[in-house]
Symmetry: C2
Subunit: 384 residues, 2 copies
C-alpha cells in the first residue's frame, strides 16, 4: 500500500519523519508558540497595555525576530538587538537636540541629513570583515534611529517614546530568553559537539568504503569519468556523508559563535569553554576528508592499477586502512565521551607500522611494477 500514497499523504509522512528524526524541532516550534502567546497576553490583559500603550506591540516583534533555534544564537541576537537599540537611541536623542537647537526651518534638513549619514555609515560598517558578525545589530540600529528621530519630529516627546519602546523591546527579549533557556533548552554547544563527532565517523566510514570498493572493483564498470566522480552511487552512502562534512565549516563556525554566548551547561561545566577549538579540530579533520576525496577520485579515474596488482597488496592496504579508520573512530569516541585515553600513541604507532609494512611489501614486490611492456593505461599509478 505504501506505493499508492497520494503526494499529499507522502508529504505528511515526510514531515512526520522529519519531526521524529530530531524531536528538538518540535520542541522549538512549541517554544516559539509559547513565547509569542506569553507576549500576546501582555496585550490581551488590560493592565500592561495601559502602562505601555501601543508601544507594547514591539515586544511581539522582538520575540518573533529574536527567537532562534539554540540558546546561544538567541543570546547573540538579543545582544545585537539591545546594543543596536541603545546606541541608536543615544544617537537619535543627540540628533534631535541638535535639530531643535538649529531652529524650526533647519530642523527637517538636519534630521534628513542625519538619517542619510546614519544609513550610509551603518551599511558600510556592516560590510567590514571584522564587523560582519554584528550585521543584525547594525540593521536594528538603523531602523531604531530612523523611528525615534522621525516619530520624535512628528509626535513630540521623543525620549518618552523611545523609552517606552525600549522597555517593550526589553520585555520581549526577556520573554524570548527565558522561554528559550528554561523550557527544553537546545544548546549550540551540544549540537557542535555532536556535529564534530559525526564528522569524524563519516570520514572513517568513507575511507573504509573507498578502499573496500577499490579492492573489490575489477575495473569492469568504467563509464564516463565526469559522471562517475560527481554523481551519487547507490553503493557509496558513506562517501556522500563525507562530502557533506566538507561543507560543514560554516555550520561549525556559526555554532561555535553561538556556543560562546552560552553559560556552562550539561557536560560543559566551564566558563569560557574553548569552543573555537572545535572549529580548529574540524578544519584538521577536513584535511583528512580531502585525502578521502582524492582517493575517491582515483577510484573513478581512467588510469587504473591492474586487478592482480591490487590483489597482491590487498592485505597490507586493508590493514593500513583499518588501522587509520580505527584511530579516527577512537578519536571520535574520546571527543564524544570527553575523555583522554593514552592509547592513542599506541594506535598511531600501529598506523605507522602498517603503512611501513605496505611500503616494504611494495619494495619486495617492486619487480611487478617494472613490467615496461604492458599497456601504459593499466599501470599501477592511480592518476587523479
Amino acid at each position: 500500500g505504501g506505493r499508492s500514497l497520494q503526494p499529499s499523504r507522502k508529504w505528511i509522512r515526510d514531515v512526520w519523519e522529519f519531526a521524529r528524526e530530531d524531536t528538538d524541532r518540535v520542541k522549538f516550534a512549541f517554544k516559539v508558540g509559547l513565547a509569542v502567546l506569553l507576549t500576546a497576553l501582555l496585550i490581551l490583559f488590560r493592565a500592561p497595555y495601559e502602562v505601555f500603550g501601543t508601544n507594547i506591540i514591539w515586544s511581539i516583534i522582538t520575540v518573533a525576530i529574536m527567537f532562534e533555534y539554540t540558546v546561544g544564537a538567541t543570546f547573540n541576537r538579543g545582544f545585537n538587538r539591545a546594543l543596536g537599540s541603545i546606541v541608536a537611541g543615544i544617537f537619535a536623542i543627540v540628533a534631535i537636540q541638535i535639530g531643535l537647537s538649529s531652529g524650526h526651518i533647519a530642523e527637517p534638513y538636519v534630521i534628513g541629513l542625519s538619517i542619510f549619514l546614519v544609513g550610509a555609515a551603518t551599511s558600510f560598517m556592516k560590510l567590514l570583515p571584522s564587523l560582519v558578525p554584528y550585521e543584525y545589530g547594525f540593521r536594528v540600529a538603523l531602523f531604531t534611529y530612523c523611528l525615534i528621530v522621525v516619530s520624535g519630529y512628528r509626535m513630540g516627546n521623543p525620549i518618552r517614546t523611545s523609552m517606552d519602546r525600549l522597555y517593550s523591546i526589553a520585555i520581549g527579549g526577556l520573554i524570548a530568553v527565558l522561554v528559550n533557556v528554561l523550557i527544553f533548552p537546545i544548546w549550540a554547544g551540544e549540537q557542535l559537539h555532536k556535529e564534530l563527532v559525526a564528522c569524524f565517523s563519516s570520514v572513517a566510514d568513507s575511507l573504509e568504503e573507498c578502499v573496500r570498493k577499490y579492492l573489490r572493483d575489477d575495473g569492469s564498470g568504467d563509464a564516463e569519468f565526469s559522471k562517475k566522480v560527481l554523481d551519487d552511487f547507490p553503493d557509496e552512502p558513506a562517501f556522500k556523508k563525507c562530502r557533506a562534512t566538507l561543507n560543514t565549516s560554516a555550520k561549525l563556525e556559526s555554532l561555535a559563535v553561538s556556543a560562546n554566548w552560552e553559560p556552562p551547561h550539561g557536560r560543559f561545566r566551564h566558563f569560557f569553554y574553548p569552543w573555537s577549538e572545535y572549529v580548529k579540530v574540524g578544519a584538521v579533520l577536513r584535511h583528512c576528508a580531502y585525502e578521502v576525496m582524492a582517493l575517491h577520485g582515483c577510484l573513478h579515474s581512467e588510469i587504473q592499477a591492474p586487478y592482480n596488482l591490487r590483489c597482491t597488496f590487498q592485505p597490507e592496504i586493508l590493514d593500513a586502512t583499518n588501522q587509520a579508520a580505527e584511530l579516527i573512530r577512537s578519536l571520535a569516541k574520546d571527543i564524544s565521551n570527553m575523555s583522554r585515553r593514552s592509547l592513542h600513541t599506541n594506535l598511531l604507532k600501529r598506523v605507522h607500522s602498517s603503512t611501513e609494512r605496505l611500503q616494504r611489501s611494495i619494495d619486495v614486490h617492486s619487480y611487478l611494477l617494472t613490467s615496461s611492456t604492458h599497456d601504459p593505461r593499466r599501470t599501477f599509478l592511480p592518476s587523479c
Copy 2:
C-alpha cells in the same frame, strides 16, 4: 613613517583600503542612505503623513530590513516580506472574524490559541529543508499575524489598520527596490560569474605552486607534520586562495538563488538564465581542488620520494602540470568571456598525452623504483 602609525590611524587606513578594493561597497552604503532618506521624506513632509498616520513608520522598517547588497537578494527578501505579510493578513482577518463570532468572553482565548498555533506552525515549517530559503518570510508572517490580531483586538478596525500597514510596507519595499535597481545596481549574477572565474584561476595557480614546490624542495625543511599542513606558509599564497575556494559552496549557492530573482541585465540577456549551472560547475571545480589539497598534503607528509627521483621525472611532471593548469585557465577565460572555443579538445588531448608521457617515463625508469635496499621511508610513494 608607516610603522609609527597609531592603531586608530592604521584602522582608518585599513577601512580606506577596504573601500578602495571594491567601490561597490561605498555605492551600497550611499544607496542605503538615499533609500532611508527618501522614506523619511514621506514623514517629514506633511501630506503623506496625514494620509497614512503613524503606520507610515513601517516604510522605514521595511527599507532598513529589506535593503540587501545585490538586486536579486533585495527582490528575494521583498518577495518573502510581501508574501509573508499578505498570507499573515488573510489568516489574521479570518481569525478575528472567528474571534468576534465566538462571543465577548471567548474572544481572547480564541486569539491566544490562534497566536500559539501560528507561532508553532511557522517555526516548525521554516525548519523543513524545502522551506529553509523562505525562513525570513515565515518570521515576517508570524509577527505580522500577531500585530494585526492583537492591535485589532485592542484598537478596533483591524482591516483598516492592516491595510494601512500593508500600504506602508509596499511603499517602503518599492523605494528599496527602485533605489537598488536604478542607482548603480549591484547584480548577484555578475558577482557569481566573477566568483566562479576567480575560483578557476586559484585552482590553476595552486596546482602549479604545489608542484613547483615539490620539485624544488630537497626535503630539508621537515618539521612537525600537523603544523605544516594546517598553517599558512608565506611562500604559498595560491594555496591559501585555493583552500578558500573550498568554502565557497554556500556563497555560490546563495548568489545563484539571488541571481534567479534578477531580470536580464548586462551580459546576461536571457530570461531564465541557467544560474544553477554555475553552482554545478563550482562543485566540479571543487573536486579538482580536493586533488590539489591532497597533493599539498603529500608535499608536507613525512614519507617523501628521494630528491634524485623527483629530478628524474621533473620535465614530465612539469609538463603535465602546466598542461592541466593551462586547460583550467582556458576554461576560466571562456567562462569569463562567455565564449565557447573548440580548442578545448585540443588542450584536453595535450593533458592526456602529457600524463601518458609521464607514465611512460615511469615505466622506462622503473628500475629506479626497485631499489629494495634503501631506506623505506624515502621511497617514491608519497604517503598522505
